[in-house]
């Protein structure tokens, strides 16, 4: 079977902040990492490969440095890695991203038909969760989002059974291959690379494809192919906050002052003390 896993290199978002004084991004100390959800997708693909046999191709789109995440994937057990890197891909929103990735998957499928595409449910920098469904729709594959468990893969009848998160619970759903899975963190714990694989990954060749290589329509790629544009970027609205009372000396005084401020709003005080009319 042929498995594909899509991996995005992202900035470690927990460290990205805006300087409140200058309203600019504070970039120092922000490193690039493989999107954590995608690493779970990789683990899912590796497990599938371990069970069914076959080949795992990892795919990423980004600047040349993004090959780092692909090497990481090879060190964990991926067989082949392709990086989509071209000026023409720059500035892509989710629609243009899913287009480029789909063209690449179609090209890979010409050589070896694809059975399962694994993606993280979302990337931690944008949190859109739109690229997975975009790829599934373009390819016409069965779509399973928010997958928490792969229950069964039936290679004879070419179908898969998964457990996925839905409102208020989980559903078990069985559908035909080929399919796209987008996975939740709880699905698996990513494995660590062995030393020999690590060395192998450093020597492996990463295929780099540009727009021409995927026969991409330039009008659908990158910024040109992106319907959405960023108008502006800003810090979340900064609030001063209300008065603060110091309770370190005299807790009772502070609590009294606090309640006085809070209950000055008579309607609010009424509802609070009357338990919201219940």
């Amino acid at each position: 079977m042929h498995f594909i896993c899509c991996i995005k290199q992202v900035p470690d978002t927990s460290k990205v902040k805006i300087d409140p004084e200058t309203n600019t991004l504070i970039r120092s100390g922000v490193e690039s990492i493989a999107n954590p959800y995608d690493m779970v997708a990789l683990e899912a693909a590796l497990t599938l490969k371990d069970t069914c046999g076959g080949k795992l191709t990892v795919l990423s789109m980004g600047p040349p440095q993004a090959e780092q995440v692909l090497r990481e994937a090879i060190s964990c057990g991926a067989d082949e890695a392709i990086l989509l890197s071209d000026r023409a891909f720059a500035g892509a929103d989710t629609l243009a991203t899913s287009y480029a990735l789909t063209r690449a998957i179609e090209k890979l499928a010409q050589k070896t038909p694809v059975d399962i595409v694994c993606c993280g449910k979302q990337a931690i920098d944008g949190d859109t969760a739109q690229v997975g469904p975009g790829i599934a729709t373009r390819l016409g594959y069965t779509q399973f989002t928010y997958v928490t468990e792969i229950k069964e893969i039936d290679t004879v009848n070419a179908r898969i059974t998964v457990k996925r998160k839905v409102e208020g619970g989980s559903e078990i759903i069985r559908g035909p291959l080929p399919c796209v899975l987008t996975v939740e963190l709880e699905l698996a714990k990513p494995r660590r690379a062995s030393l020999p694989r690590l060395i192998h990954s450093l020597k492996s060749e990463i295929g780099v494809w540009n727009a021409e290589a995927i026969h991409g329509d330039n009008q659908k790629l990158g910024l040109k192919g992106s319907p959405t544009w960023v108008k502006k970027i800003f810090s979340p609205p900064f609030k001063e906050g209300g008065p603060r009372f110091d309770a370190r000396e005299n807790p009772r005084q502070a609590v009294e002052d606090c309640l006085k401020t809070l209950l000055a709003d008579e309607t609010f005080a009424f509802h609070l003390l009357k338990q919201w009319g219940q």
Binding site: P11, K165, P176, T228, R248, P251, V255, L262, F268, Q278
Partner: protein, 418 residues
């Protein structure tokens, strides 16, 4: 202005302002811009000084002095181009489960009404399911002018493909200029399919929606980079302008059962593909009592600073006193003191109670995005610099172990007096 060896006045990127969006990289006609360490850098020898990067930069990170004619003003004919295509109306997807409309759909109808009034147009509901006519009438009561329904047994439960196709077909027929979908698991699964089929823009998890007056475009504001930064997005050349919105971002409008509206029924054209089949539904085994914290008018929220077993009974008492329940921030769940469904924040639940009482909650951005809609916020924290104080209506600086018992006593007194 710096000049290169050819005497051309070149543009320069201020790395501290650059957000690494790469828009300028794609826009540069001569390929003079490259990414380096996450920021764009212009090669001055390649730059032709056209200023295109300056025009497209969303954050004014490009230093460039324009010498030539001022920015080209778009011709009115161009502006009218998309209105010509007859995309009119603000549409809302009405999510229905077991014949019950999802609250987020009603919230979106309320917002759609405001947008439609600015655009002087109508509010449209799109409803898919089986035996969902009650939800159609309810949508009108909440503010829809018309509801387009596809009612078919195949749509009894949600399966991505038939829902995606049905909703795409409705959009193609009705042609709304704006289309809003609730960012529920179902809505997020569905929105990506429809936007891809229609090849239009989709902005996820918006927290603010407004109309830009010059061209009547939808301005969609959303948190990005894990909530650390807000971005305003627009979609100028494609229709509909699509957006998903999280539950409880907007208020549910008043319901008026006497409102008039039209219901149009459409026939399902099912996809030809082989479809998945639903085998089982497992209701969340809610650890403990199965409470939904988002439904309580008051929440006492335990944070990392109040993360110990002995404190819990005290917080329970306080919660009872204010007519609410105890919730928590992420570290408390990670410490195993409370179940996940009590967690407030980006990875937990979004809440908007009338009273939020944070005890030892420091106020990380990821927590704040899940509770900023609360009506009144009280914070108790020992650290005077805790960010939670910046969003609190009133704060108490001090050890919660000393403050909470007094707070309970004082509240009891005031309740007795009333």
């Amino acid at each position: 202005m710096p000049k290169n060896s050819k005497g051309i006045e070149v543009a320069k990127i201020l790395p501290e302002k650059c957000i690494g969006c790469q828009i300028c990289v794609a826009e540069c006609p001569v390929g003079a811009i490259e990414m380096s360490n996450g920021a764009a850098v212009i090669d001055p020898e390649v730059c032709i000084g056209c200023g295109k990067c300056f025009e497209v930069c969303p954050v004014e990170a490009v230093k460039f002095e324009k010498k030539r004619s001022p920015k080209k003003i778009r011709k009115p004919e161009e502006v009218a181009q998309y209105a010509r295509d007859n995309y009119r109306g603000v549409a809302v997807f009405i999510e229905s489960f077991n014949g019950q409309g999802a609250t987020v759909s009603w919230e979106l109808i309320g917002k759609a009404r405001q947008l439609a009034e600015k655009l002087n147009t109508r509010v449209i509901g799109f409803l898919l399911g089986y035996e969902v006519n009650d939800s159609a009438r309810e949508a009108i009561a909440y503010g829809c002018d018309e509801v387009h329904v596809i009612d078919d047994p195949l749509l009894r439960t949600y399966i991505s493909k038939p829902y995606g196709k049905a909703l795409t077909d409705l959009c193609k027929k009705v042609k709304p200029e704006i289309f809003l979908i609730g960012a529920t698991p179902l809505g997020r699964d569905l929105a990506g399919i429809v936007a891809t089929n229609l090849e239009t823009g989709l902005t996820a998890d918006c927290t603010g929606l407004d109309i830009e007056e010059e061209k009547n475009l939808l301005l969609m504001t959303r948190p990005t980079f894990g909530g650390n930064i807000m971005a305003t997005i627009f979609c100028e050349h494609h229709r509909p302008q699509m957006s998903t919105v999280r539950p409880r971002v907007f208020k549910t409008p008043e319901k008026n059962p006497a409102r008039n509206g039209n219901i149009y029924c459409h026939v399902l054209e099912p996809p030809h593909d082989k479809l998945p089949e639903l085998i089982d539904f497992i209701k969340d085994v809610v650890s403990g009592d199965g409470v939904d914290i988002s439904r309580f008018p008051a929440l006492v929220v335990a944070g990392k600073g109040a993360c110990d077993l002995e404190t819990m009974p005290l917080l329970e008492e306080l919660a009872n006193l204010v007519g609410g329940i105890v919730a928590c921030s992420r570290p408390v769940v990670e410490a195993g003191l409370m179940p996940y469904d009590r967690q407030v924040g980006q990875t937990g639940k979004t809440v908007a109670p009338k009273l939020y009482l944070g005890i030892g909650v420091s106020g990380a951005v990821q927590h704040l995005v899940g509770m900023q809609g609360s009506e009144k916020i009280i914070a108790v924290n020992a650290d005077p610099k805790a960010p939670i104080f910046n969003v609190a209506d009133v704060g108490i600086i001090g050890d919660y172990k000393k403050v909470v018992p007094v707070l309970i006593e004082e509240l009891k007194k005031r309740k007795l007096r009333n």
